[in-house]
Symmetry: C2
């Protein structure tokens, strides 16, 4: 078995688990930093290890377009290319095809689109997405899905879902036939939008195909939080206990805690890296905009007691100066702090689950955190540095 | 004595020296990375130590305008503010006032100008420049000078030089009166443009005032190399043997070697950091533009045999991808390599001087290097990250 539930919470649906991949073991609940273009923005692999990253995410769509498979294959796969020898999860490219590129046509076979880089016509299908992810050398491969915009009409969502289920079946079949000794894990994605019957249908049918894990898709950070939690609540009960569950592209720190309580094991989100580049840091009491004049002569670290390399060495006043002066070091220092914050949060969650104190941790954390509501979709669809 | 000449070359005017400052000893010839806004662009202080930086440069003009003296003073000086406890040399602000700001008026008293950030009216004088540099906590303070554009008419250059000499005298007087236990070293700047008689006059008069070191100013990387060397040759013979000589804002790697041979001990230049942000790396055989398609699948490091952290971990193919995708990690990795290259070059020069093999080193290095001629002035006048 590649996934083991080590313990479960008495009060909530939270689980402490362990996922084994070709490049090592992942302790769950886990947060996965987003490495869209073969780099978690502004960081080195050794910095990722230092902040406690166990697994990172690579974006199939971006890497497929640039540098292209030929380059990555020549360099020995994504791990060797970027110098990261721990697990990598790759998405299927579906989300970015629908959100980033100029979409040309969806057919039963796959999706015709134009590259966002140079407009070149491209094509992705379930089989091609599997092949690309296998060539990248991914440890956890995601099934190719259609990701309808939020909110979508019932009828469109239902039709799209049917096609995504047929695509999932093709991904499963491709995986069965092709995967060899390297044996990546294959996860399917529950869709169905805001409709509970479609979520249930999606989950049940995917589970009948017996994937290695299940993601909840079609929700992004920009959506109202009740919708986000409802999508989880409408999907999770139909997923098997002995497989990992992954909430794609989510969320804020308290949302992570709430989703863990709803039985989610894995997360990825661009918030810590993207907000860092905007001068915003995460703390246990909420986000902090370091451009604020309040910090002009503030000698304290971003977060007192924080053990990250930024907080051990630099004061808010200095980081504020760097951000105001648009110096790269400013966003570097906040990126490190933010990733450490997210990774440390999941570490604390794991410790609380082990100690049987998760309910208290959850209540305390969520109460202390001043909620941050991003205005736009924060799921990884960016191309700018 | 704060400066000691340990040995001199038999053939050229090159010297191996040692400069003692309040924050430690500097082995010369030395290259000083440029930290314009309180950070050597894209690097942390610990990375600077790792690449072998002994001393860095801070720009008085930039720091005076942003974050301003009050902030840096509150934070305990520039060393503490930026987390660098080795020597810092600060320029006087003169060069940037004349190149970056909207100049309003030069008077005998000082210079009225408008901030390049917000247009606010500002004033700098010899005494104010001294005071600002002392407040920053600089270890090596530069006298406030007027830096006429290249080329300037004889008459203008002569008039400007007279004023710069009177300003140097005022800096000297201010230093005598005010400098206390912290005792920064005070360097004067030889001006005189392309006119050998003015260079001689400038050097002789400054030497009569007995500064702690002498810079050759008014030359920038964009100028024809013969002019650059002529400015050194027209100034150096009139400078005392027992004081350090500093070529401000210069130059390419072979130019550094040639200036060492002409008796220069100290250098600063934005080329390694600025070209890195443009995707260009330095090697012993010349510059390498990593955007070039040649490197698409090149598994070699930037420079084979290089011991920097970039070359130890990353291939050209990966760095090229990062540069093409405009990822911050790309410019970070090249910045580290380029700084290491410049610092390692001066280390090799010092070793050659110690071993008595400098003539051979010089000949070999200059012959192997394919000259790079930047098209525009590369002296630190940038504000963009």
């Amino acid at each position: 078995m590649h996934f083991e539930v080590l313990s479960t919470d008495i009060i909530s649906r939270a689980r402490r688990g362990r996922l084994t991949t070709a490049h090592g073991v992942i302790e769950t609940p886990v947060f996965m930093p987003v490495g869209t273009q073969g780099t978690v923005k502004a960081t080195t692999p050794s910095e990722l290890l230092e902040v406690g990253a166990q697994v990172i995410l690579g974006n199939t769509y971006h890497l497929f377009l640039r540098p292209g498979l030929e380059v990555i294959q020549h360099c020995g796969g994504l791990h060797k290319f970027m110098g990261w020898d721990r697990p990598i999860l790759t998405d299927s490219g579906g989300f970015q095809v629908f959100s980033l590129s100029k979409l040309r046509r969806i057919t039963e076979e796959g999706v015709h689109f134009n590259s966002h880089i140079d407009g070149a016509p491209c094509f992705l299908s379930p089989e091609l997405s599997m092949q690309v992810q296998q060539t990248l050398g991914s440890d956890i491969v995601m099934a190719f899905d259609e990701c309808p915009p939020y909110p979508s009409e019932y009828e469109y969502t239902a039709t799209s879902l049917e096609r995504t289920l047929r695509w999932a079946y093709r991904c499963r079949a491709w995986g069965e036939k092709r995967r060899n000794g390297t044996h990546p894990l294959l996860f399917a994605i529950v869709q169905g939008g805001i409709y509970h019957d479609l979520r249930e249908k999606s989950a049940r049918e995917l589970v009948s195909l017996d994937f290695d894990g299940y993601a909840v898709g079609g929700v992004s950070v920009g959506e109202p939080e009740p919708e986000m939690m409802r999508a989880i609540d409408n999907s999770e009960p139909f997923l098997p206990q002995d497989k990992p569950r992954y909430a794609m592209g989510l969320g804020t720190p308290p949302q992570l805690v709430e989703m863990v309580a709803r039985g989610i094991d894995m997360f990825d989100c661009v918030l810590p890296t993207r907000l860092a580049r905007n001068g915003t840091a995460f703390t246990a009491t909420g986000t902090m905009n370091l451009k604020n004049a309040t910090y002009r002569t503030d000698l304290r670290p971003i977060e007192e007691g924080c053990s990250c390399s930024t907080c051990r060495s630099f004061a808010r006043a200095y980081i504020r100066h760097l951000v105001k002066a648009e110096e790269i070091l400013g966003l570097r220092l906040i990126t490190i702090h933010n990733l450490h914050f997210y990774l440390n949060l999941t570490k604390q969650i794991r410790a609380a689950l082990e100690a049987g104190t998760f309910a208290r941790f959850r209540e305390h954390f969520v109460a202390n955190y001043v909620r941050y509501e991003p205005q736009v979709s924060e799921r990884e669809s960016e191309v700018e540095p």
